[in-house]
């Protein structure tokens, strides 16, 4: 019985391969986009975990110097002698690789190198003979060193013995931090007595990078979900249509003696088999998408958050299993309504296809109520949403509410159009379009989502681009930036440059914490470069005068928002309280920043000698200046970066930041175009009985075909008109709510009418291309097929 029934059910798909293709392709695309994003997320998280494991980030308390500078090795020895169980760590960058030096004998388990796959020799490691552990990608950057390949190593990180690290990094006798091991002996000496300049940083139960990048991954996940939702619209449409067409068959099966339960179970099983097949295809496609996106994501995370992520992809069970699970779950959701209707279908009802329009009519009220509720929620959230969860709730209610409302809005527009139509053809066209609306509504909803996401994200990115470019012009005002290698070079540079430049601006900073937020404190020299260029979001009177005078501090927007600090509040740096005189925009910076006067900085952080300098000078004189500088002081031209290069690097990091979202945008729009094509193709097979009377009454087949094309373009146009305000609302929510929660800064919103017009044209073009084939098929329908409509033998 089961075999015969399955054969009957599956035969529907073999006889309707286009429908089967739509179902499988829709589901595969949806799964691909979702699992692609998840693969990227999984890879990034694995990288953070590996990095955290390498350094024990978040797992152990640490001792660091209050001023953020390295401590002498003697401090470590003193603490060990005083009974402290601590293990030293040195870290720094060598040829772009993060080199971490640990002492294997005292480091806690799980930190440092693990399971080298080839050539590992712990004796060599311990003997300080220069052995490093890193993954293959990192090893390529260190061709002259003895690197042992370790797949588990954190990306961009090489671990070695502390002595080797000190030598490679030029930090002989220095230690950056001390890991405090669990189970410290009682009665050990007080920290303040042994090392008064050290402070204890408690374990935070998770890496800073992990927390910082959470919002980025949440954004990606939200995009993945949106793409998946668009794909599921296709699946839902395909399943709905297939079940609609199979209603008579289901009645026949039941009339011939198949129990209802068996019908439902077998139809469900049939779909799950398809879901599994499509899921496997989707996961494979997702792997391809992830492999394409990962280098850009890695660059984004490195540029925006300083997080190292492997640029190569591994097959992780967590994501391919989640890809299959979401394919099955998505199918179950998309099919549940149709299966429920089948289970409630009376055996003896008229065995003819129920008109889609009638079903839509019954659902319209429910859909309208849901749309109204969701749009009301979105309206309220626009004024109250706060944080990422609130932001995404706003986005979800706005998008879903608008998608549900779309068929009702289009129906009203079409009804109004049919009233003002004068010719018979126009009246038939509008009435016929209204009749097609239920069948096309899912595809149009998918188009609406894709277009509004495109408008929203492109508005956000373009607004960001404008603001960021202006911001770079303000912040990178110096014509030349030079990094010195040591104190002597700094002094030589200052001596050489002072008579040859307008001003030398030292760029000096110390890492600290303000109100629990990781913060960089900068000491700025009093100069018009700052006064003229920096833009404040909030300010007290004369913020620069009081700051350069040493009485106040300026903080960035991120620190202001995260710590709830505003102008007039006070913060404490090295025990000294400063009132906040201004909050400035600081786009692209992941952490808090505070600026104080150069003089007070030197008092609070006396150990810090500036090694970065901005030089204000005539840009034309830069090449000669660099030549003379090298000849006189030995500071090489490679230690200098001109303003244009820094801007180019910053802008390229920024552009790559949004490559991922742009790629997902294009993919989502492509999926929506595919949804329209498939809907039109499947509807075309059901159109003959509707078109035959019009043909019989004198319309030509080519006229009918042309009208089909016009109909698709017109519906896409109406959808685009609805998508524009929705996309702008989406952009506002992204800029004013999600961005603030995710990155800590708010951006002004600009409008880009030409971009929207171009997108609208693309959408119309996509709809026209999608409609071309079905319209051509209809225009070429043989008269015999049209005549069958009027025959009893059909």
């Amino acid at each position: 019985m089961t075999r015969a029934t399955l054969q009957a059910l599956l035969s529907h798909w073999w006889r309707n391969p286009l429908q089967l293709f739509t179902l499988l392709a829709g589901l595969a695309l949806a799964t691909a986009l979702w699992s692609g994003v998840q693969a990227v997320n999984a890879e990034a998280r694995a990288s953070y975990d590996a990095a955290a494991a390498t350094l024990g980030e978040g797992q152990y308390d640490r001792l660091v110097r209050r001023d953020g500078q390295p401590m002498p090795q003697e401090t470590y020895v003193a603490l060990r002698r005083a009974g402290w169980l601590v293990s030293p760590v040195v870290q720094g960058r060598l040829d772009g690789v993060r080199v971490v030096g640990v002492e294997p004998l005292t480091a806690p388990g799980g930190i440092g190198p693990v399971d080298p796959v080839q050539g590992g020799d712990i004796t060599e490691f311990l003997s300080g003979e220069g052995q490093l552990f890193a993954n293959a990608e990192t090893a390529l950057a260190l061709p002259d060193l003895n690197v042992i390949l370790t797949p588990e190593a954190a990306p961009g990180t090489a671990v070695t013995d502390i002595g080797v690290a000190q030598r490679l990094l030029g930090k002989l006798g220095q230690i950056d931090s001390l890991i405090v091991l669990p189970g410290q002996p009682k009665g050990r000496a007080d920290l303040a007595a042994v090392a008064p300049d050290l402070t204890l940083q408690p374990a935070q139960g998770g890496s800073d990078i992990g927390r910082l990048t959470d919002s980025f991954h949440l954004n990606l996940t939200a995009f993945g979900l949106l793409s998946f939702a668009v794909g599921i619209f296709i699946v839902n449409g395909a399943i709905g249509l297939a079940f609609e067409q199979r209603r008579p068959v289901v009645r026949t099966l039941r009339a011939l003696g198949l129990p209802l339960r068996n019908v439902v179970i077998l139809m469900g099983a049939e779909l799950m088999i398809f879901a599994l097949i499509a899921g496997v295809i989707g996961v494979a496609l997702g792997y391809g998408i992830a492999a394409l996106l990962l280098p850009d994501v890695a660059a984004t995370l490195r540029g925006l958050y300083g997080a190292d992520v492997s640029g190569t992809l591994q097959l992780r069970p967590s994501w391919w299993l989640s890809g299959l699970a979401i394919a099955l779950g998505g199918t179950a959701i998309a099919a549940s309504g149709a299966l429920y209707q089948i289970s409630k279908m009376p055996l003896l009802a008229a065995a003819q296809p129920r008109a889609l329009a009638m079903a839509a009519g019954r659902q319209a009220v429910v859909q309208g109520v849901f749309a109204a509720i969701l749009l009301c929620v979105a309206g309220v959230m626009m004024f109250t949403a706060n944080g990422l969860i609130g932001g995404f709730t706003l986005l979800a209610s706005l998008l879903i509410g608008a998608a549900l409302a779309l068929p009702l809005i289009l129906d009203r527009i079409l009804a109004a159009s049919s009233k003002i139509a004068t010719s018979v053809t126009a009246q038939w066209f509008w009435a016929d379009t209204r009749q097609q609306l239920p069948g096309l509504s899912l595809a149009l909803m998918a188009l609406l989502l894709a277009m509004s996401a495109n408008v929203g994200v492109s508005t956000m990115v373009s607004s960001f681009r404008l603001t960021f470019t202006d911001f770079l012009d303000q912040r990178l005002a110096s014509e030349l930036y030079i990094r010195t290698e040591n104190e002597a070079q700094s002094a030589a540079l200052v001596a050489f440059a002072t008579p040859r430049t307008d001003i030398i601006l030292p760029i000096q900073s110390a890492d600290t914490e303000v109100a629990g937020q990781p913060t960089e404190v900068y000491g700025a020299r009093d100069h018009a470069t700052y006064r003229d260029n920096w833009v404040f979001l909030q300010q007290a009177a004369g913020p620069w005068d009081s700051t350069f005078g040493g009485q106040t501090v300026l903080i960035n927007e991120q620190l202001s928002r995260r710590a709830g600090l505003n102008v007039g509040d006070a913060i404490v740096l090295q025990g000294t309280s400063f009132q906040i005189a201004g909050v400035y925009g600081d786009y692209g910076n992941p952490i808090g920043q505070a600026v104080i006067g150069e003089g007070v900085f030197a008092t609070l952080y006396p150990a810090i000698i500036p090694q970065n300098f901005g030089l204000r000078m005539d840009p034309v004189a830069v090449p000669d200046f660099l030549t003379d500088l090298e000849a006189t002081t030995g500071i090489r031209a490679t230690q200098a970066v001109n303003q244009a290069s820094i801007k180019a690097i910053s802008l390229s990091i920024f552009e790559r930041t949004f490559t991922v979202t742009t790629a997902l945008n294009i993919l989502t729009l492509a999926v929506a175009g595919f949804a329209i094509l498939m809907s039109l193709l499947t509807l075309a097979t059901m159109r003959i009985p509707q078109l035959a009377p019009a043909w019989a009454m004198g319309m030509t087949r080519s006229q009918i075909g042309r009208l089909e094309l016009v109909r698709a373009v017109m519906l896409a146009l109406l959808t685009a008109v609805v998508a524009l305000p929705l996309g702008l609302a989406l952009a506002w929510a992204l800029l004013a709510v999600v961005n603030v929660a995710a990155f800590g800064w708010q951006l002004p919103m600009y409008l880009f009418p030409m971009d929207y017009a171009r997108l609208g044209l693309f959408a119309l073009l996509a709809a026209a291309i999608a409609a071309l084939w079905p319209a051509r098929r209809l225009a070429r329908t043989p008269p015999a097929d049209l005549l069958k409509v009027f025959s009893n033998e059909r």
Binding site: S11, R15, P248, T252, R261
Partner: protein
């Protein structure tokens, strides 16, 4: 007795209130016997056929197939009855459009686990369907489709064959040919045949005739 229908009542709810379709109908049918059920539209013929076929349940009364009271069966029991014991030929054919003619003929027998390839081949040949076995229903004429439906019904060799206007969609000559074949094959299997029809000519070819009027046997 193959079929015994006792005091069957059936009422439908309509927009104008309850409508009693059947009001105390009794009938009997022996194995090998043929019975025509006639009556005007709305007299309850098709409803009675559906109740006997286990497609619907009566509000009152009993229907016995042999010793089995089918009004006591649940949904699964009635489904099992339709699979093997009773075969129904519908006016609209109700073939499965995505299956070839050969698979359509074999379908009900396979559901009932009574598939006999030889008997299927015999049915196809007697029905003149052999050249069309690889075609899909939409490629056949109405008469051919109805012959496929009859073959499908007879393939599991049911004890009782019910036919609802089996020639209603066919022209006169085709209808006569289809009916001849059906009577011949039913007679060979020894099943009982109950046909619902408007046609007096068709009814005249049955061994017995019962006329329904306003839900009662006239």
């Amino acid at each position: 007795m193959l079929l015994t229908v006792q005091n069957i009542h059936k009422t439908y709810q309509t927009a104008d209130g309850p409508f009693a379709v059947l009001r105390g109908v009794d009938l009997t049918l022996d194995a090998g016997e043929t019975l025509a059920l006639t009556g005007e539209s709305g007299s309850g013929k098709s409803t009675l056929l559906h109740l006997i076929g286990g497609l619907d349940t009566p509000d009152q009364g009993h229907i016995h197939l042999g010793e089995l009271d089918i009004t006591t069966l649940d949904d699964n029991g009635r489904a099992a009855l339709r699979r093997g014991t009773v075969g129904v030929v519908f006016q609209q054919f109700n073939l499965i459009p995505s299956l070839r003619v050969s698979d359509n003929i074999a379908f009900q027998a396979r559901l009932a686990d009574r598939y006999d390839p030889l008997w299927d081949a015999t049915l196809a040949e007697r029905m003149g369907l052999t050249p069309h076995l690889n075609k899909y229903p939409e490629q056949l004429s109405g008469g051919q489709q109805q012959r496929v439906a009859i073959a499908r019904t007879l393939a599991p060799k049911p004890r009782l064959v019910l036919a609802d206007e089996p020639t209603g969609n066919l022209d006169e000559a085709t209808a006569a040919a289809v009916l001849d074949l059906m009577l011949e094959l039913v007679s060979e299997t020894g099943a009982g045949l109950l046909i619902v029809t408007h046609s007096t000519e068709l009814a005249g070819r049955m061994s017995r005739r019962l006329h329904l009027r306003a839900g009662q046997v006239a």
